[in-house]
């Protein structure tokens, strides 16, 4: 707590704003997961948290710790980069699993599975 008091007030406002914005984005993503009805629509919602949500939080962390410690605290940027690269993989797996399931069930209005196209 004492360390945080050394933060200049303009920076404290900015850091708090970014952290709050990040929380709002992550919450919106979860709310979307709840509100959307179709599976493929639901897949869109959590990306709010993994993109802009993480970007805001990383911004807050970098700003806060760059001012409190000497030098630029860029380590948190790694979190953003690694999430940006890995989150789509998880999303892709989930969506493709849903596609395979819908295909086996014969749900109408579903795009063809790749294997069918290849034959």
């Amino acid at each position: 707590m004492n360390a945080l008091q050394q933060l200049p007030s303009w920076a404290a406002v900015l850091v708090a704003g970014l952290a709050l914005m990040s929380a709002v984005l992550a919450f919106s993503g979860s709310l979307g997961l709840l509100r959307f009805r179709a599976f493929y629509q639901r897949a869109h919602a959590p990306t709010l948290g993994t993109t802009a949500g993480v970007a805001c939080m990383v911004g807050a962390v970098v700003l806060c710790f760059s001012l409190l410690q000497d030098g630029l605290a860029v380590r948190a940027l790694l979190i953003g980069v690694l999430l940006l690269v890995t989150a789509p993989i998880g999303l892709l797996l989930v969506v493709r699993a849903a596609l395979a399931r819908d295909h086996l069930a014969g749900t109408p209005g579903i795009p063809p599975w790749d294997d069918d196209l290849e034959e």
Partner: protein, 162 residues
């Protein structure tokens, strides 16, 4: 050079990541980072990754900035949709004929489309070069397809020179 450092860019990225994680420039950390940066790309080469040739760093930088802007913008759009009281969004699948064949380009395109809220990569037929994506708020399929091709596929083909 080629023998010792099969993937110089990957080696550099690994060393930078290692030093960032360790948060120090002490000789032991640098040494261990150099060893990892030397060894891991050799394991990677064993996987026989397809050849990567980057033609234009400038176009890559411009694409990265464009993607960052698009991601932020679509975050706001999707957030507005989630909080709105109106009924379900009119979403749907869009089929896009692609010209891009390069596996690296396709991987980056998949990451861009999936990381952007509002669009998700669904399937890709390599033989017929057809990509299917799901769009949360679909207004016009042809417009969506044109946007993806114009904004992302064109610069990717420029970067990879194909």
């Amino acid at each position: 050079m080629k023998r010792w450092l099969p993937h110089p860019l990957l080696s550099f990225a690994l060393l930078a990541m290692w030093l960032l994680l360790q948060h120090s420039l002490a000789p032991t950390d640098v040494l261990l980072g150099l060893i990892l940066a030397g060894l891991i790309p050799r394991l990677w080469a064993r996987l026989e990754p397809p050849a990567l040739r980057l033609a234009s760093g400038f176009v890559a930088l411009r694409l990265a900035l464009r993607v960052a802007g698009d991601i932020l913008w679509s975050n706001l759009m999707v957030m507005r949709r989630i909080w709105s009281r109106r009924a379900e969004p009119a979403s749907g699948f869009v089929t896009i004929p692609l010209e891009l064949r390069d596996p690296w380009g396709l991987a980056v395109l998949a990451a861009i489309i999936s990381a952007t809220p509002g669009t998700v990569w669904v399937s890709h037929d390599a033989r017929r070069q057809l990509l299917v994506i799901h769009v949360l708020e679909l207004v016009d399929a042809a417009t969506s397809a044109g946007t993806i091709k114009q904004r992302y596929e064109r610069p990717l083909m420029e970067i990879l020179q194909c």
